[in-house]
Structures are given as C-alpha cells and as structure tokens.
C-alpha cells in the first residue's frame, strides 16, 4: 500500500511536506511498471520548477520516462547516493530512494494532489 503521510500525482510521483520543503520521489507502482532503473537524470540545485514541469528522466532497459514535478518550487537538494547507485529507487522508492527536495514556491500547496486513498483508488481503477 502507498504511505498515508504524503500526496500523489496522477503520473505516479509522491510528495512529502516538511515545513516549507517537500521531498519528491516516484511510487512503488511506477518502479514496478518501469522495471529496474538503469539511468536517472535529476535537475541541478537552484533550478526553479513550475507544477507539471519535467523534473528529470528515468530509464529502464526497455523505456525512457519523464518525471514531473507535482508542485512549484526550487530544487534545494538531489539524492546524492543515486548518482552512483540506483538500487534505492528500485528497492525502497518511498524512503531511501527519494529523488529531490524542493523549497515550495510562495503560493504553492499540495491541495490539488491525491491522498494515498485516492491514489490507491486510481491504481485500482486502472486494474492494478
């Protein structure tokens, strides 16, 4: 099941709020669909993103997929471990496999994103 302490985007990213900062990653479902990641590209610290902007790219043997930022903000940190080892994304996408941290833009909120219940329902309705 998807953790209840965060919000979800339709495109299978999760967002966890901590004060004015959010941590962003991709869901276990996204990883399962993608299959073992082989390449990850993340933005540079300082990059400003609007909600829906492409945040990075993740590839598996078979596919290349964009990752979108579910919220507006400025990149303050990228998960350094992933520069040399992608297994945390594969094995632990909700915790050690996080991708980036953003400082939320002044007016940005997570209100438009799905709760874990709503995201569970989306997966169920897609037949997963």
């Amino acid at each position: 099941m998807n953790p209840i302490d965060r919000r979800y985007a339709k495109s299978h990213e999760w967002v966890k709020l901590d004060g004015k900062t959010v941590t962003i990653g991709i869901t276990a479902f996204a990883v399962e669909q993608l299959t073992e990641p082989t390449y990850l590209e993340l933005p540079k610290v300082g990059k400003e993103l609007a909600a829906g902007d492409e945040l990075g790219i993740i590839e598996s043997v078979k596919s290349t997929s964009p990752i979108y930022s579910p919220v507006a903000g400025t990149v303050v940190e990228c998960n350094e471990i992933l520069a040399t080892n992608l297994s945390p994304v594969n094995d632990d996408p909700f915790e050690t496999g996080w991708l980036v941290k953003l400082k939320l833009a002044p007016d940005a909120t997570l209100d438009a994103l799905m709760t874990s219940e709503q995201y569970d329902a989306q997966l169920a309705s897609e037949g997963h």
Binding site: T35, E36, T38, Y39, E41, I57, E59, S60, V61, K62, T64
Partner: protein, 372 residues
C-alpha cells in the same frame, strides 16, 4: 484482431510474466526482470518461448529449387542436417525477412519471423506456382523453445532420445522428446552457445518445466532483445526492412551472388558495388542514457548522418549501446558522433560489431557465422 497464444501462454500468465503483443502474438517480456534474465543467459542458461516464430515445412521434387529462388544464401551446398541463415529479398533487394533454412534428406524447414509469417507465406505461394512443392505451416501444431547459455548443453543432457551434445554449430537433428518427434538445432539469437528445440504442442510445457527444474531460468523477449543487441544480431523491423538491402545491413556474407539466379540478385550485385547508401553501425554511448529507435544521429557540427534502429542499456557491458544506419563516410570505427534523444545530445563513438562475443569453445570452428 486478438493476439495469438503459444502453448506456453497459460504457464507465462500463471507465473505473472509481463505480457505484451509481439508480431501478432501475446508474448512474455519478462518474469523476474530483464537484467537478471540477461545475466542468467550470459553466465549459466535461460530458456525462451519462441513458438511465435513461423515454422514452414517444404517437400516435393522442386523444394530445393523454390528455396534457391527466394533465399539469398546457398541451399544446394548445404548438407543434410545443416542450418543456414539468409534473407528473402524483393527484386529491388529490399529485405522481406531474415530466416533460417534447415535441410533434411527429403525436405526443408524454414524458420521465419512471427510478424512476417503471412507475408512470406503469400510470397512463397506466388513463387511456387508451377513447381512440384508442398508447403505446410507447422507454426500452430508445434512449439519452439530456445535454451541458451554456457550451461545450456549440459543442462539438456538426457532430455532427448539421442545425444545432442555432438551437434555442430548451425546443425540440427531430428530426435524424440518423451517418445514424440522433435527437432534440436545448435542455433540461437543471444550470442551464447545453446539449442533451439521444436516439439509437438503437447510437449511444450513439459520440456519448459524440465529445463526450469535443471536450473535454466525462464526468460522473456526483453532479455532476448538486449542479448541479441549486444551480439549485434539484426532484428527484422528495426535493422532490416523492405527499404534496406542486406549489403547495407552488413549481411553480404549471407548473399551468394554466384550461386545462380535468385530474386533480388541483380539489385544486390549493384548494391555491392555502390558505396553510397547508409550502412549499419554499432554505437557506444558515453553515458548510461539509452538512445532509442528513431533517434537522429548527428555529426559533431550538427549535420544529420542517420538514425538509431535499436538502443538500450546493455546489462553485460554496463554501457548504453545502439545500432543504427549512417552515411558511409561516418561509418568508420572510432568516428565520434552525437545522438539527439529529444533535446539532449549524447556523445557516441562508432564501435566494431559485435559489442559482445563469447569466448569460443575449442570444438567450434572460428569462422562460423554468429548471426541467427
């Protein structure tokens, strides 16, 4: 139209394989994961359901004549029990399919790509008019399983009525599996040693599980694709199409211009002397990011040189590799190029093919073609 199912379809689904349509069939892409399946084949053995490949059987006094007419490689020089790779071309040299021909004392077998089955059957029907030859499609009465990898032969020991360990590379023999007739060939599409087995539909699940029980790992078409890419074997629809000729594809060794008349001979003779058309090259990318089919290949100054036909992260090499077609002046090994992957440009170098070559066993002649 719904996709066809192989006799192993229910097994794949029950083992939660990820299924996808391929060449008109619903086939497994992966079970445990493409990388682990790929590694199993390179280091031990894996087996693949390749029942989707079409199996066409030819008999009659003109069977040899028909095959010589439609096949670019020589059939007349084949010995009984030999298997040979070659192309079926149009008059203009465009590739209709790449196939394997098996020669038996009184008959022949052709293994044809799944997606091309109906097209090739129609082509053969057209060219057998007036000839004494019968063609029988055995795709739906038999199954085909490939077992590939350094342990493939050892783990197949004792499965068949005859000892198959003495089969030479690109040779086949009829034998029996559980008292039912089958065909075993020392062929494959992974760059590893191994066997391909054609059995009656009713024996498919039994043979599949027997290989599994002996340690071979079930593998899907995902690993088959990365394995063949590392071994630089062309895939129809990607490196081979009706718009490309076998000379451009680097398959001139499978075109025997001097064997006598065959369809496409004059066009291919001309193609062999002209060096202007784009040619197939291997590309090693200086990043782990993959180039995908259709990505444009550029010179360092931005001029378009060609495009990618297959590309992936290569699990054995742990590099991103690709094959594609470029103009001849950019085809020399060592040429530095760029690949446009939707905005970003990847640096790449033209590499000798194949990307991966297994260490050749002493018993195996060094000059046998490695394509299948």
């Amino acid at each position: 139209m719904s996709n066809l199912h192989t006799p192993l379809h229910a097994w794949h689904v029950s083992r939660k394989a990820r299924m996808m349509p391929f060449g008109g069939w619903e086939m497994p892409v992966q079970y445990a994961g493409i990388t682990s399946e790929h590694r199993a084949v390179r280091t031990a053995a894996g087996h693949f359901d390749i029942s989707h490949m079409a199996r066409l059987h030819f008999t009659g006094t003109d069977a040899l004549k028909l095959l010589e007419t439609i096949f670019t490689n020589s059939v007349a020089t084949m010995k009984d029990g030999q298997v040979r790779y070659g192309l079926i071309c149009r008059e203009d040299g465009g590739v209709l399919d790449d196939i394997l021909v098996y020669r038996w004392p009184d008959s022949f077998l052709a293994v044809v790509n799944a997606a091309n089955r109906e097209k090739i059957e129609a082509w053969l029907e057209r060219h057998r008019a007036g000839l004494a030859v019968e063609m029988e499609d055995r795709t739906f009465t038999t199954a085909m399983i490939a077992v590939q990898g350094p342990n493939a032969l050892e783990w197949s020991t004792g499965l068949f009525a005859d000892d198959v360990s003495g089969l030479k590379y690109y040779h086949a023999m009829p034998t029996q599996y559980r008292k039912q007739p089958c065909i075993v060939s020392r062929t494959g599409y992974t760059g590893e040693d191994g066997l391909e087995v054609i059995v009656a539909n009713t024996q498919a699940v039994n043979l599949w599980e027997a290989l599994f029980a002996r340690g071979s790992l079930p593998c899907g078409l995902g690993a088959r694709d990365t394995l063949r890419l590392e071994a630089a074997m062309p895939l129809y629809g990607h490196e081979l199409t009706e718009e490309l000729n076998p000379i451009q594809a680097g398959l001139g060794w499978a075109v025997k211009l001097e064997k006598g008349e065959f369809i496409g001979r004059e066009a291919l003779r001309a193609a062999a002397s002209v060096q202007e058309l784009p040619v197939r090259v291997g590309l090693v990318i200086e990043s782990k990011r993959a180039a995908r089919e259709g990505s444009v290949i550029l010179a360092e100054d931005g001029t378009t040189l060609g495009s990618v036909t297959s590309g992936s992260f290569a699990p054995t090499l742990e590099k991103s590799i690709a094959m594609g077609y470029v103009v001849p002046k950019a085809a020399a090994v060592g040429t530095k190029l760029a690949i446009d992957v939707g905005g970003a440009k990847l640096h790449a170098v033209v590499s000798a093919l194949p990307f991966y070559k297994r260490s050749v066993a002493a018993a195996e002649p060094a000059n046998t073609p490695t394509l299948g």
